[in-house]
Symmetry: C3
Subunit: 279 residues, 3 copies
């Protein structure tokens, strides 16, 4: 009899199972400064995961609040001048207190105002950046790493994640952070290792703010205190597998949303190990 | 054998089928400045329809953003001074760039502040005004076309659409726009033609912001570039037929909402032709 | 044959049945200044109950609006400086016009900013205060009635309602108001009488803002014009029984939410009398 090291598939399934349990036991407090469209679904996703969401953004209280948070998540959708100021204050405080924070650069590359706001936020060193391919490209451009414009259409990607793998790695090395570009195939990198996840359903793009809620979910995993790269990969794996499971129950985007949150609530390590598809 | 022109019923069903396909193929980018209550459902309705919603309102970016939008939708629910300013900036830019915009005058006639805000917006010439009967009456009063107060109760109509048909026509001629008053029977007019649609379910009034989401849906149809009157009539016909279909599946307002979005996602021309009821 | 007075159980069921009917017939207009997370579910809960919700907060219009409202509900979640100002203006106007208002002190005890805002609001004399045990403790501390800090974790309670019964009574007597502390067991008191309700499901804590929506529901009952204590007890009883019913249909938090709103829409006095559990 020989001892063999587990396959990447089995190792990721086991790691994800352990993190699912850690979130449920630890109930990480995730402070979110997120767009108005996503508040309901992001909070419900975090509750279903076992985390404790708190939508706190006022500059008058968020520095006081963030100290007790396990993670902070900042999302630039429905941006306003007041919102940009709130994000600046909160991320400054998070960094000062060593609270990891996750950036969802919604609409990056779409307008000058988004770019300026996101450019300033990058200075406060997010632990993870999670966006679609166009947004990741636009953030890389803001960091001076490419001349190509992300140029999303509205808030939708006009690129495939396969087109920006090298750029995502460059961005991760530059920012000393984890970069996750999600799409039909999700790509996660810490600048060195790179993982591709092929689960998920096209219906996920038909439910508003499911991507924003994913960023919150990443925050919950990162908030458990382990390695941010492992946390991000596992969060994305769990989320995409949940998408597969929900699609089997759904007859359209709204029943998919219901099935998705229910499935996330009951998600088990065996669901991951049975369904996970690495590429 | 004689050639006969199609009945109004068949002509509208065919036109609506063509527009359903146009939205799904063209994926019109619909910028919405809408109230906080409606953001989730409006975005989900637009995604289910095949359109690309974007909730962008900051004066710092909306003039830049609206140029690439297929249509702009402005809704005065949860109004604030900042929101009124955002609407002013966005509608000015929309008009300057020839982007059609749709007004949902939520709460018109309810307070002086709503009336002033809506009165200013009317100067920027919406392509379509969609409201309940009391709101349409209040807008007509703001335009100097009647002495009668719309006097909604909160955000609910205190009038029947049948009471305001002539006034809706007057408002449409005055504003050179389409006017749609929705209720148990929907009335749509360009000031000359007038269509009455009798589909829909009372459960539609028990789901918050389903009317606001309808205005977004009208924006998607208008954003496909054809005649705004035809687009508005077809959007209302498709939406009300979807209401009929969802009511057959529902056991209350929440399951109705789920069934409604699922049905909208799968809606076909044959559903319209089988169910459409003109009056 | 002897005449016996009805048991507390039967009396409460009958009273609740009468109030369910009163809300459906009277359609109380409930103005809500509530957090962004809760707007969708709170409005849907109120519509399902038969009430007319209106999310109106702008200082430019809320004093004009509140005069016609049956009740005002103020919730301090997602607090901002502008929101605090809106609450101040609206509660001042409500009191001036004799409109009862209900306070949901979300996050009380969590930050200095929340405490200051809530402290000011208390001066305008809410008819009812509805919160979790930690929040009620924090409000009592703001009123100078205890030295103990509520110290919620994020927006979640760190106390059991059984720990704060005496304090809730003290707060009710001090504020001449009704105090409702909700949790696994709900406690309601007017400072003298105290009722404990044991219905409800743990899934209620897995749906975001279901507590905020409950405060809106209390507003609808209080807005019918009867005794605020009776109205609050009945609203909590109806809501918790609905939770029991929905839990029987649910396979997770999202299907629970759907079943909850559907069940609330169809709720009957017999459901209360069959299921109500007083403690």
């Amino acid at each position: 009899m020989e001892t063999t090291s587990p396959s990447p598939h089995d190792a990721l399934a086991a790691q994800t199972g352990a993190l699912l349990a850690a979130v449920r036991e630890g109930r990480p407090l995730v402070q979110m400064i997120t767009n108005y469209v996503s508040m309901d679904i992001a909070a419900n996703v975090l509750l279903a995961a076992g985390a404790a969401p708190a939508m706190v953004f006022a500059p008058e209280e968020s520095p006081e609040f963030v100290r007790r948070a396990s993670a902070l998540v900042v999302n630039t959708g429905t941006l306003s001048a007041a919102g940009a100021q709130a994000m600046e204050v909160a991320t400054t405080a998070a960094r000062a207190h060593g609270v990891p924070w996750v950036l969802d650069p919604v609409g990056a590359g779409g307008t000058q105002f988004r770019n300026e706001t996101i450019g300033k936020l990058l200075r406060h060193r997010p632990a993870v950046i999670r966006g679609n391919a166009s947004e990741i490209m636009a953030v890389a451009r803001l960091a001076g790493l490419t001349q190509e414009a992300g140029a999303p259409r509205g808030v939708d990607s006009t690129h495939d994640t396969s087109e920006i793998e090298a750029l995502a790695q460059k961005l991760a090395r530059h920012g000393l952070c984890v970069v996750a570009a999600t799409g039909a195939v999700d790509v996660v990198t810490d600048g060195h290792a790179l993982v591709r996840l092929a689960n998920g359903s096209p219906l996920m793009t038909k439910v508003t703010a499911l991507g924003c809620a994913l960023t919150g979910y990443v925050g919950a995993f990162v908030g458990c205190g382990g390695d941010p790269f492992a946390a991000t990969v596992s969060a994305l794996a769990a989320y995409a597998v949940t998408g597969d499971m929900a699609a089997e129950q759904a007859s359209g985007p709204a029943s998919f949303r219901t099935a998705f949150i229910d499935a996330l609530y009951g998600l088990q390590e065996r669901d991951i190990s049975q369904r996970l598809r690495l590429r």
